[in-house]
């Protein structure tokens, strides 16, 4: 196998076609006869950005604890799931990219609109099949510690129980070690909301709010007789992360829990089943269902207010070497403790996960002239496997020595990889061209 990018770098027609307005490659479907996921699946991997993730500890000048870092690693590991998720590379991260929602995820037969998924479909665990096509919107986990109860209808009170249910019941994983659950919960509880630049404390509008936003806020607080005297704010309590921790029937097919409105704009679609693609449609639903008689200006004002509430400061960040290596180093930071505690099973999970991340990073350095970069990463992968082998053989001294060398080499590789980033698939143009090649192969094979 060699690398196609030679022709791209040599000025082949593909990039030119793209720049001249060819099909954007932000979507990439699984195709061919060999995928472990249904043909047509889009895992949302083709984009050049990923959700930004803020940890409570880091926001206050600290760093992720061992438990949070371990949970962060496990969140990215298919090893905690059973078949077919594990061999297919599906992890918590697949649906909740960087602890947010993968709004591009689409699996034929299991998704309604992109960003929704039917966890009771039976594909990932036959015993969970309820024989109903009922995909739900993939929720963001930002601020999840403030959003109990859990599940679309709030059926599970504790995040720990909910997480266990996802692993065991929905994705056929083995009963998780208590440390695994503790770590996953620690990680998720650290994920902060990304602040809205349009809000101040108490969920109040910023001082420079527009007239329309202010009118929208007043409307949001106004009791409506058609809603039994309730206001929007009665359920979406501004000072309480815009939730009331309760379930309501708002004419969408049953009782569903009140979703937060924070970060609304970056986690489409809307309602429990993702039936609405826009905030406007969601507003129209309430107007129609409760007969509120909103005027066009009312709707525009409510939209302006919800846009202010649902805004996020830089909700996305470019993918790249720095972000990837930061995450890999965080994961690798758990290895010392795992060796020390002789948690060999978790050590293997960690090495598998880190090596998988390293191999993904390696794939970004695709061009023929990036051999040194690819080799540097591959040698770290192999050395990490030796760390695991030494620890499993009971030779902890050797494992620690090897680990120290690996961690040093990771740090040493950073400037080299950063310097080559512009020639890697982290470059948006090259990335787009890469996925365009895949798309053309798919078109040729499927004839569409």
């Amino acid at each position: 196998m060699s690398h196609w990018i030679t022709s791209i770098l040599a000025g082949a027609s593909v990039l030119g076609a793209l720049l001249a307005g060819g099909a954007p490659a932000h979507a990439q479907q699984v195709f061919g006869r060999e995928s472990l996921l249904p043909a047509g699946t889009d895992l949302g991997e083709a984009g050049a950005t990923e959700p930004r993730e803020i940890f409570a500890s880091e926001a206050h000048g600290g760093k992720q604890s061992f438990m949070t870092a371990l949970g962060n690693m496990l969140f990215s590991s298919p090893d905690i799931f059973g078949e077919p998720a594990r061999p297919a590379g599906v992890s918590c991260e697949t649906c909740h990219s960087a602890g947010h929602a993968n709004v591009s995820l689409y699996v034929p037969g299991m998704s309604g609109p992109p960003g929704t998924f039917d966890v009771s479909n039976g594909f990932f665990h036959a015993v969970a099949d309820d024989h109903v096509f009922n995909p739900v919107r993939i929720p963001s986990l930002r601020g999840v510690r403030f959003l109990a109860p859990y599940g679309r209808d709030g059926r599970i009170a504790s995040l720990r129980d909910f997480t266990r249910n996802v692993i065991v019941a929905e994705f056929a994983g083995a009963e998780p070690d208590p440390l695994v659950l503790d770590a996953l919960v620690s990680y998720m509880q650290e994920i902060e909301f990304i602040p809205s630049p349009r809000l101040q404390s108490g969920g109040r509008l910023a001082a420079d709010a527009s007239d329309s936003e202010r009118r929208g806020a007043q409307l949001f607080q106004r009791p409506f007789a058609q809603m039994d005297g309730q206001s929007c704010a009665g359920c979406h309590i501004p000072s309480a992360a815009f939730v009331d921790h309760r379930q309501h029937d708002v004419g969408s097919g049953g009782l569903f829990k009140t979703p937060t409105l924070l970060g609304l704009l970056s986690r489409r679609p809307y309602f429990h089943d993702g039936r609405y693609a826009t905030v406007e449609e969601a507003i129209a639903h309430f107007d129609r269902n409760f007969g509120l008689g909103l005027t066009d200006r009312d709707k525009a004002d409510l939209l302006a207010y919800l846009r202010a509430v649902g805004d996020s400061e830089r909700p996305e960040q470019p993918i790249g070497v720095t972000v990837s290596l930061d995450e890999i180093e965080t994961f690798a930071g758990t290895l010392d403790q795992l060796i020390r505690d002789r948690r060999h099973e978790l050590l293997s999970v960690a090495v598998d996960t880190i090596n998988h991340e390293l191999r993904e990073l390696q794939e970004q350095f695709f061009a023929p002239d990036l051999r040194r970069e690819r080799g540097r990463i591959a040698r770290i992968v192999v050395a990490l496997r030796q760390v695991e082998s030494a620890a499993l053989a009971g030779d902890d001294d050797h494992a620690f020595q090897q680990l120290s060398t690996v961690l040093d080499s990771l740090k040493a590789a950073r400037p080299m990889l950063q310097a080559a980033e512009v020639r890697s698939l982290f470059d948006p143009g090259l990335r787009q061209a890469y996925y365009e090649q895949l798309r053309r192969l798919q078109v040729a094979s499927e004839g569409k």
């Binding site: 060699s2 022709s7 060999e34 995928s35 598998d352 690819r374 192999v382 053309r440 040729a444 094979s445």
Partner: protein
Amino acid sequence: MSFRQFLRAATAAVAIIFGAGMAGQGAKAADLSDKIQAYRQVGLQDLRSVIAGVDKLVEQLAAKDFDGARQTWIDARVGWERSETFVGELFPDSDGAMDSWPDADKGFHAVEAHLFGADPEAAMPIAKQLRADAYALGAKLEATPFEAQALLNGLAGLAYEVGEEKSSGAESRVSGTSLNDMRNNIKGVETLYEIVFREAVASADGKLADRIHEGIEEVEGMLKVDSIAKLDSKKVEVASEKLAADIMQTAASLALQPPSLEE
């Protein structure tokens, strides 16, 4: 662990990560020239079969014998995948022209997408270019010497590559023959190791030689499944990384540089 053991382990770790210049010092180079010559004949024969296969492929496409062409494409991949132990090292231009992924314009996989896809006739111009590239490779074959360092690099590199992610479908996903690719890759690793390196490694470190042999057999065993869907790719990944690590450790006893895994 004694200090000497510790030092040896630490040196091995540094050598694996930083590569060149850290191993092989002081070891006496084994004379592998006869073995390399023997392997060269095997490798060249594999590539000659690829060139002949591509020639036949074009003829079958011209005759609109698409079923025959599909089987010929599959057959031609056998020698190609076995030769990946040295093609990337010795013939990088041909590797890029004939087997780049993902490439919709040239090479085996662009042919594959049409041939096994909706419009097999559309494979013809790409197959003709593949034939021209195969001939260009053929013209270089006889004059290219094989040498131990390049072969050890290719051996470790291919052992590592076998463990690459396959969950979204691998390179030969349209024909559904990626499993063949992997089997032939590991067969190529086995052939090269057994013919060229095993005896020399065994004379220096019998346990390491056996471990590599067993590692190859382990991967081969994992690939004895009906389809990629039944493959435990995670286990293959782990086994391939351990195998690559062991192969890299042979450099010292062979008086060669540790493979850089840069292919």
